[in-house]
């Protein structure tokens, strides 16, 4: 399985799709971060926290995560290389996990490249460390849940375009359902609502479980679809 993860990372890294996506993410979040630092009013100084920027990252992840996952299975189907994987001694579970760990690596790499945000805040003020660390954990889990939905979208089609669209539609539907059902069960459905406790520095297990459940269900369905009789 290690060989598959390695190949996945290599394939993404050399593809212009990944570099452009990563650059877009870093540009937009960097831009927003700069803006948040310079938005100084006389009555209120900027807060020494990442809360605002983390929510902004979540919105950007909504738009870019389909581009990270769209090729995972769709391209293998199109190239015929899925036949190589499925006739190799790798099990279907290993194939799904290998692909997923590959894209998780990309997400981690992108998030690590935003490390200058907390560093700046540490240089300028005295922020609480726990909310900062947990904010990153939260945004990682949110991104990981988006990527798992993207993997599921990609296993359903040969077309990367359709995979990206399906992935976008599924994540944005979850998000909107939360807005529509606000006050009812909206807070339970929306991926963004579960981010709040993390940004406040509270580790609420139920919020972490929410993301893990999405990941589990998506990967399980991906596995079943790969497993189904051909």
């Amino acid at each position: 399985m290690f060989a598959l993860i390695k190949k996945e990372i290599l394939s993404h890294m050399v593809s212009p799709v990944f570099s452009v996506t990563a650059a877009l993410f870093l540009f937009l979040t960097g831009f927003a971060f700069t803006a948040s630092l310079t938005q100084i009013s006389t009555r209120q100084l900027p807060e020494a926290s990442l809360r605002g920027i983390i929510y902004f990252m979540a919105v950007i992840l909504l738009f870019i995560s389909p581009f990270l996952t769209m090729k995972t299975f769709a391209e293998e189907k199109k190239l015929g290389t899925l036949e190589l994987l499925l006739t190799s001694p790798l099990s279907n579970l290993q194939i799904v996990l290998g692909k997923y760990l590959g894209v998780l690596f990309l997400l981690t790499a992108i998030l690590i490249l935003t490390i200058e945000f907390p560093l700046f805040i540490f240089m300028a003020g005295h922020p609480d460390k726990a909310p900062m660390a947990l904010s990153y954990l939260g945004i990682f889990l949110l991104g990981a849940s988006f990527l798992s939905l993207g993997l599921l979208a990609s296993v359903l089609t040969q077309s990367q375009m359709i995979a990206a669209l399906l992935s976008f539609v599924s994540t944005i539907t979850l998000w909107f359902l939360g807005e529509v059902g606000r006050g009812l069960i909206g807070e339970k459905i929306s991926p963004i609502q579960h981010l709040q406790s993390f940004t406040l520095g509270i580790l609420d297990v139920s919020d972490a479980v929410y993301y893990l459940v999405i990941i589990f269900i998506s990967l399980f369905l991906t596995f079943r679809i790969l497993e189904r009789k051909r």
Partner: protein, 242 residues
């Protein structure tokens, strides 16, 4: 031994392969079996069932004694497979492709460089080992497909139309390569070129409309009326005879 017993594949209401049973023996030198048939006769479907890409509607496959469904890991380790279109990633180099294949077969780390060198030499790819797969010619890609299949030195090789779409020189080279692999592995190769099969195969199977209609050794064929005539006789449809 590869053992297929009453393999059947149904797509919706269409029967692609019906009740196919045969054995391919490893023996001392390994036999080369040619699988012949018209386009759409069920050759690729049969090979895909033998390699575990397709699940048969009914029937079973055993490879080297392992049931492909119950022990897929052991069964697949004994197989090398070249699909109709070589499954290659254009963004990898020739060498990276082979080390990826070595990885998914979990070959022992210390043996991998040696096995890769061996496969590159056998398939004549040594001079392009650093090139990107997306930039090499179709002939080289076909050879790389074969290198992928033989890398782990499997006792059984399944080659789906190994010479299709190549130029005459490349066809001769690939045939030579298969000749050289003879004796190391038992080979099942499909083709619709009769001369190719009569040149390479020790035994010929003909499928027609998903049924096995002929299965004889080369000496038997030579004794009777010759492959060409047998093939036309076996694949003739009574309804549309000329």
């Amino acid at each position: 031994m590869i053992e297929a017993s009453s393999l059947t594949k149904r797509y919706g209401s269409q029967l692609a392969v019906q009740n196919l049973s045969f054995k391919i023996h490893l023996g001392e030198v390994g036999e080369v079996v040619g699988l012949l048939g018209l386009n759409g006769a069920g050759k690729t479907t049969t090979m895909r069932m033998l390699t575990g890409y397709l699940t048969p509607t009914s029937g079973q496959v055993r490879v080297a004694g392992f049931d492909l469904k119950k022990n897929p890991y052991e069964a697949k380790k004994n197989l090398g497979y070249l699909p109709e279109n070589p499954p290659l990633y254009p963004e990898l180099t020739v060498e990276e492709t082979l080390s990826f294949v070595a990885g998914i077969h979990s070959l022992p780390k210390n043996k991998i460089p040696e096995l890769i060198d061996k496969a590159l030499i056998k398939t004549g790819l040594t001079e392009v080992r650093k090139r990107l797969v997306g930039n090499i010619s179709k002939g080289y890609r076909q050879r790389l497909g074969i290198a992928q299949a033989i890398l782990h030195e499997p006792p059984f090789l399944i080659l789906d139309e190994p010479t299709v779409g190549l130029d005459p020189k490349q066809i001769i080279e690939i045939r030579q390569l298969i000749q050289n692999l003879k004796g190391e592995s038992a080979i099942l190769l499909s083709s619709h070129i009769l001369q190719e099969v009569s040149l390479l195969a020790d035994r010929v199977m003909i499928i027609h409309h998903g049924k096995l209609v002929y299965d004889q050794s080369r000496s038997e064929i030579e004794k009777s009326k010759g492959l060409e005539e047998i093939f036309f006789q076996m694949t003739q449809d009574p309804s549309c005879s000329l």
